[in-house]
C-alpha cells in the first residue's frame, strides 16, 4: 500500500524529462535573476578597468562606494532617502514600458508635480494639516498625470513618438517651473534662489519613526507593490501586457488600447508627480530649481535595470540610491570628479541593455531543451 502511494507521488515530483520539478521550476525563473546580476557584475568589472586606466584603485573605489552607500546605518539611511524618489520616477518609465512605450520625460512630471503641490500647500494654508498634505499629493499626482497622460494620448491618437515628445515636454515643464517660480509664485523673500513660499512646518512630511528617512520611501514601496498587483493580477494589467506584446492583436481581441495607454501613462505620470510633491513636502519645503535634480533620468536607468518589473524596482532603486549617495565620498576621498557616478551608471545601463540579447540563449534556463534523465 505504501509502495503504490510513493510510486504514484514520484512522477508528480519529477518533471516531464525526469528531473525534479523543483529544479525545473527554479531553472525557469533563474534566468530573470542570473542574467541581470551577471550583467551588473560585468558592468562593475568594466568600470574597474576604466578606473584603473585613469590611474586610481578600483578596489579602493568600490570600498569607498560601499562605505558611502551601505557601510553604516547613517549611510544606509542616506541611500534609502536617495532611493525613495527613484522608486516613483522608475514607475513612470516601467508602467508605460509594459505597454511597449518608452517614456523618458519623467523629470517634467516630477517638476510640475512639485510646483503644483507647493502652490496647493501655500493656497490652503490655515487648513488642517492632513487635508492639506492630501490635497498636495492629489495636486502633484494630477499635474504629473496630465503631463505624461498627454504624452500617451498623443502617442495613441496622433501617433506622436512618445520618447521624443516626453523629453520635449520635460524641457517645457522645466521652463514652465522657472517661469512660475520666478514670476507669479515667487516668494519675495527668496533672493538668491527663487522659490515658492515655504510650507508651514505642520504641512511638511516627517521621517519614518526610528529612521532619518522620510515617509516618501514607504509611499514609493507601496506604489511599487500596487503597480505590481495592477500589472500581474488585474485584467487591466493583463490587457496592458497583451497590448505591449502586439497592439494589433490586442485591438482585434476588442481591447480598448487607447484608454489603456492613456490610463497607464496618466498613472505613471501621477507617480512621478507624487515624487515631486514628496520632494517639496519632505525635503525642500518649497518648489525651486532643485526639483530638476535628475531623478527622472536616473529613474529610467532603474526601470531598465529592473526590466520594468515594479517589485524589482525596489532593490534596484535602493542600490542606485546608494551609488548616488557615495558620490560625495568618492569625490572627497579619491579626488575623482562627481561625474564618476554618471560614468558608472552609463556603463551599467549599456551592459544591462546588451544582456537583453542573452535571454533564451542558455539551455540551462530552459528545461524543455534538457536531455532526458536516465
Amino acid at each position: 500500500m505504501t509502495d503504490t502511494v510513493s510510486s504514484a507521488e514520484a512522477p508528480a515530483m519529477l518533471g516531464a524529462r525526469g528531473y525534479p520539478a523543483a529544479l525545473e521550476w527554479i531553472a525557469r525563473r533563474a534566468e530573470a535573476f542570473v542574467i541581470p546580476l551577471a550583467a551588473l557584475v560585468v558592468g562593475m568589472v568594466l568600470f574597474s578597468l576604466f578606473i584603473a586606466l585613469v590611474g586610481k584603485s578600483p578596489v579602493q573605489l568600490y570600498e569607498t562606494m560601499w562605505r558611502g552607500g551601505f557601510g553604516s546605518w547613517f549611510s544606509i539611511q542616506n541611500s534609502l532617502s536617495r532611493g525613495a524618489p527613484l522608486l516613483l520616477a522608475a514607475l513612470c518609465v516601467a508602467l508605460p514600458a509594459r505597454l511597449g512605450l518608452v517614456v523618458i520625460g519623467g523629470e517634467g512630471a516630477i517638476v510640475l508635480g512639485g510646483v503644483a503641490a507647493a502652490a496647493t500647500g501655500v493656497a490652503l494654508s490655515g487648513a488642517p494639516s492632513s487635508i492639506v498634505i492630501l490635497a498636495m499629493g492629489v495636486a502633484g499626482m494630477a499635474a504629473g498625470g496630465i503631463w505624461i497622460g498627454a504624452v500617451g494620448a498623443l502617442r495613441h491618437y496622433r501617433a506622436v513618438n512618445e520618447t521624443i515628445s516626453s523629453l520635449l515636454m520635460a524641457y517645457i515643464a522645466i521652463a514652465l517651473m522657472n517661469q512660475l517660480v520666478e514670476g507669479p509664485l515667487r516668494d519675495p523673500a527668496s533672493l538668491n534662489k527663487p522659490s515658492t513660499q515655504p510650507l508651514a512646518d505642520i504641512y511638511r512630511i516627517g521621517n519614518i519613526p526610528g529612521m532619518e528617512v522620510h515617509w516618501g520611501l514607504a509611499v514609493g514601496v507601496v506604489a511599487c507593490v500596487l503597480s505590481w498587483v495592477l500589472i500581474e493580477k488585474t485584467r487591466w494589467g493583463f490587457a496592458a501586457r497583451i497590448a505591449g506584446g502586439n497592439v494589433r492583436a490586442a485591438q482585434v481581441q476588442g481591447l480598448a488600447v487607447g484608454p489603456l495607454i492613456v490610463g497607464f501613462t496618466t498613472l505613471a505620470g501621477g507617480f512621478a508627480g507624487l515624487a515631486g510633491m514628496l520632494e517639496v513636502a519632505a525635503v525642500q519645503g518649497s518648489a525651486n530649481a532643485s526639483l530638476a535634480a535628475g531623478y527622472g533620468y536616473t529613474g529610467i536607468l532603474v526601470a531598465f535595470l529592473a526590466r520594468h518589473n515594479p517589485l524589482a524596482i525596489i532593490p534596484v532603486a535602493i542600490l542606485l540610491g546608494g551609488i548616488d549617495a557615495s558620490g560625495g565620498l568618492i569625490q572627497r576621498r579619491m579626488d575623482l570628479p562627481d561625474a564618476t557616478v554618471l560614468v558608472l551608471q552609463g556603463m551599467l545601463f549599456i551592459v544591462i541593455l546588451f544582456s537583453e540579447t542573452l535571454y533564451g540563449r542558455f539551455k540551462a534556463f530552459n528545461p524543455d531543451l534538457w536531455q532526458r534523465a536516465s
Binding site: V102, I104, L154, H156, Y157, R158, A159, V160, N161, T163, I164, S165, L167, L168, M169, Y171, I172, A175, L176, N178, Q179, E182, Y297, I300, L301, F304, P337, D338, A339, T340, V341, L342, V343, L344, Q345, G346, M347, F349, I350, L353, F354, E356, T357, Y359
Partner: protein
C-alpha cells in the same frame, strides 16, 4: 550701442543672426541623424555624442592651440560613439532607442568626467567670416558674422541631398533603410551599412558639439547642450529625412531659440523662460501636426522602429 538705436528692427535682425548662430549644431546633428535614420536605425545617443564632442574639441583646442585639431578630435570621438552604437545594435533584441538613452547618459558622464580641468582655460575659437563688414551698424555686423561651419553645413546638406538620390552609396543606405530583406537579396549586409551610417552620424554630431564649445556659446561647461541632440531627432522626422529639409528646419529652430534673447535685448523680459522654451514647444507642435495615426509618414524609412 544698444539695440534701441535701430529700434524694433533689432528684433528680426537679432533673430536672423541668432538663427544662423544657433542653428549650426542643429544642422550637423540632424544631417548625421538623417544618414543614420535613412539606414533604418535611430540613435538618440547623439545628445551624449554632442556633449562629448564639445568637451573633446575644447580640450584638444586648449592643448594644441588649434581649433581645427579640436574639431577633428571631436569628429573622431563622435565616430567612435556612433560605431559603438552601430555595433551593439546589431545583436538581436538590443533596442536601438534604449541604447541611445544609455549612450546619452554615458557620453555626458564621460564628458563631465574628463572635462573638469577644462572649465577654466580659454580655447581659441573657430573663425567667422564678417559678411556684415559693409555696414557700420554694429547689430548688422553682429548678425552677419557667419562661422565657416555654418557654410560647410549648408554645403553638406546640399551634397547629401544630391548623394542620396544620385550615388551608389546613397542608394545602398536607402535600400537598407527601407527593407533589410531587399538589401540582403542584393548581397548587402544591413548591419555593416548601418554600422557605417551610425558612425558617420556620430562624427557629424561630434562636429556639432565642437561648434558649441569653440564658437557659440564658445566655452566648455556642463550645461553646454540644452537637448540639441534630441531635438535634432525630432527635426529629422519633421524634415522627412530630407537633408535640405533638415537645413531649413535647423534654421527655423535656431530662430526660435534666438527669440528669447532677441526680445530681451530690446527690453522685453516678461515670460523670458517661456520664450526660452520656444524651440521645444515648436518641435512638439510640429510633431503633432505632421504625425498621423492612420498613415505612415511620407518618406519614412521602412525599417525605422519609431515609425513602424
Amino acid at each position: 550701442m544698444d539695440a534701441t538705436e535701430i529700434g524694433l528692427w533689432g528684433v528680426p535682425l537679432a533673430i536672423l543672426g541668432g538663427a544662423i548662430r544657433v542653428s549650426t549644431p542643429f544642422i550637423f546633428v540632424s544631417l548625421g541623424e538623417a544618414i543614420t535614420e535613412r539606414s533604418g536605425r535611430i540613435n538618440l545617443g547623439l545628445e551624449g555624442t554632442l556633449v562629448f564632442g564639445a568637451m573633446t574639441a575644447y580640450a584638444v583646442a586648449v592643448m594644441t592651440n588649434s581649433p581645427w585639431l579640436g574639431l577633428l578630435a571631436a569628429a573622431a570621438a563622435g565616430l567612435c560613439f556612433g560605431l559603438f552604437h552601430g555595433w551593439i545594435c546589431k545583436f538581436p533584441k538590443v533596442n536601438d532607442i534604449a541604447i541611445g538613452i544609455a549612450l546619452m547618459l554615458f557620453g555626458s558622464g564621460l564628458a563631465f568626467f574628463f572635462g573638469k580641468p577644462f572649465i577654466k582655460p580659454k580655447a581659441p575659437n573657430l573663425p567667422a567670416i564678417p559678411f556684415g563688414a559693409w555696414s557700420d551698424i554694429p547689430q548688422v555686423q553682429a548678425a552677419l558674422d557667419v562661422n565657416v561651419l555654418f557654410l560647410i553645413g549648408a554645403a553638406l546638406s546640399l551634397v547629401l541631398w544630391w548623394a542620396f538620390r544620385n550615388t551608389r552609396a546613397g542608394l545602398i543606405v536607402r535600400v537598407v533603410g527601407d527593407s533589410s530583406d531587399a538589401a540582403r537579396a542584393m548581397g548587402l549586409n544591413p548591419n555593416t551599412v548601418r554600422l557605417l551610417a551610425t558612425g558617420v552620424g556620430g562624427a557629424l554630431a561630434g562636429i556639432g558639439g565642437a561648434y558649441l564649445s569653440l564658437y557659440y556659446p564658445g566655452s566648455w561647461t556642463e550645461r553646454i547642450s540644452s537637448g540639441q541632440g534630441l531635438m535634432a531627432v525630432a527635426l529629422v522626422i519633421f524634415a522627412r529625412w530630407n537633408p535640405l529639409g533638415c537645413f531649413a528646419a535647423a534654421l527655423l529652430f535656431g530662430g526660435a531659440g534666438a527669440l528669447g534673447p532677441a526680445l530681451q535685448s530690446v527690453g522685453v523680459t516678461q515670460g523670458y523662460y517661456l520664450f526660452y522654451a520656444a524651440p521645444y514647444i515648436l518641435t512638439l507642435i510640429i510633431m503633432i501636426a505632421t504625425s498621423s495615426p492612420t498613415r505612415s509618414l511620407a518618406g519614412a524609412p521602412g525599417e525605422l522602429s519609431i515609425t513602424k
